[in-house]
């Protein structure tokens, strides 16, 4: 059963259907939020707010849209709103990337492959150093698994800009992580 079917079930009163969707998006959505917003307490609050808003807006959700795009767009808006309230520069339009670098509060979880986890944490630290707009493109691609066209819609910009941001982000990450790659492999 896909997301759209789960949502239809929920709108008929089946709570478990939406709970399954929450579980499916738990990690990617939270990862996106924590990388964009930083502090762990805020991230939990935002995560909760995203689902509450999504739940309220579900009757208006058009099933032709990708659910993941729709959900990450809600998260994007909430993060932007919060950053404005706090007067932080988080807007994706701010190419300068002046941004409070989020703490990389990656919780250590038991994992068989420690090197994967370590490498992942290193990548996340490097991602946290990216300018907000570039970071968001990278995260929407990695966590949201969104096509660049959808990312352009979320950021309200052209697809060329999004591709350029991704390219810059990857360049910077490659630069920062080149030594780590060699160590890990």
């Amino acid at each position: 059963m896909d997301d759209a079917e789960h949502i239809k079930q929920f709108l008929r009163g089946d709570a478990n259907a939406l709970c399954a969707v929450v579980d499916a998006y738990r990690k990617p959505l939270y990862s996106f939020i924590i990388q964009m917003a930083g502090q762990s307490d805020d991230a939990d609050e935002i995560f909760q707010e995203v689902w509450i808003k999504a739940m309220q807006a579900l009757p208006r959700y058009r099933h032709k849209d990708r659910f993941s795009s729709w959900l990450f767009k809600i998260a994007h808006r909430i993060i932007i709103d919060r950053s404005r309230k706090r007067k932080l520069v988080l807007s994706p339009d701010m190419e300068s990337g002046v941004l409070a670098c989020p703490e990389t509060t990656t919780q250590t979880t038991p994992h068989d492959n420690v090197s994967d986890h370590e490498l992942g944490t290193t990548i996340r630290r490097a991602v946290a150093q990216l300018p907000a707009a570039q970071r968001e493109v990278f995260l929407l691609r990695m966590d949201g698994d969104l096509p660049f066209k959808e990312i352009a819609r979320i950021q309200k910009t052209s697809i060329n800009t999004v591709l350029a941001r991704m390219s810059y982000a990857l360049g910077k990450l490659r630069e920062q992580l080149s030594s780590t790659y060699k160590d890990c492999t």
């Binding site: 709570a15 990690k27 939270y30 492959n113 990695m142 790659y181």
Partner: protein
Amino acid sequence: MKKNNTAPQSSRHTDTALDESTLRAAWDASAPEPSAQTVSSIKQCIRMEAQQYEQKQNKHNIHIFWQPALAAAAIFMLVTSSYVIWQQMTATNALWQELTNVEEEIHSELDALEVSVWDALAELEAESPTNEALLHAFTLQMITWED
């Protein structure tokens, strides 16, 4: 939901040992998770909201059941009342036609009666000229009566 072939276009530019699958595996392995309490409170909200949707769905189902029944009843009443009105109109027309026929019959009988009276008078006049004055008076009376 998540595909494993979505690494950003790094592979095109890779000059290091980090490939697409390594990046994806490392990224997923280090993915943070929300606290269990947060997830649990979200699920609780979902359950409460779902109850409301269930109630709405039940009301909707009741409407779906009753609306056609009400529509059928309304159509039935409309058809019945139309039939009753049509029947009454037909009966009224028949009665009116009957009255018209009776009226025509009365008129024709009166006409016949008038002709026979005049014929009788003419006969009397021919048979007895002495009664001429009396007949004249009677004729005058008839004309007056006719007017």
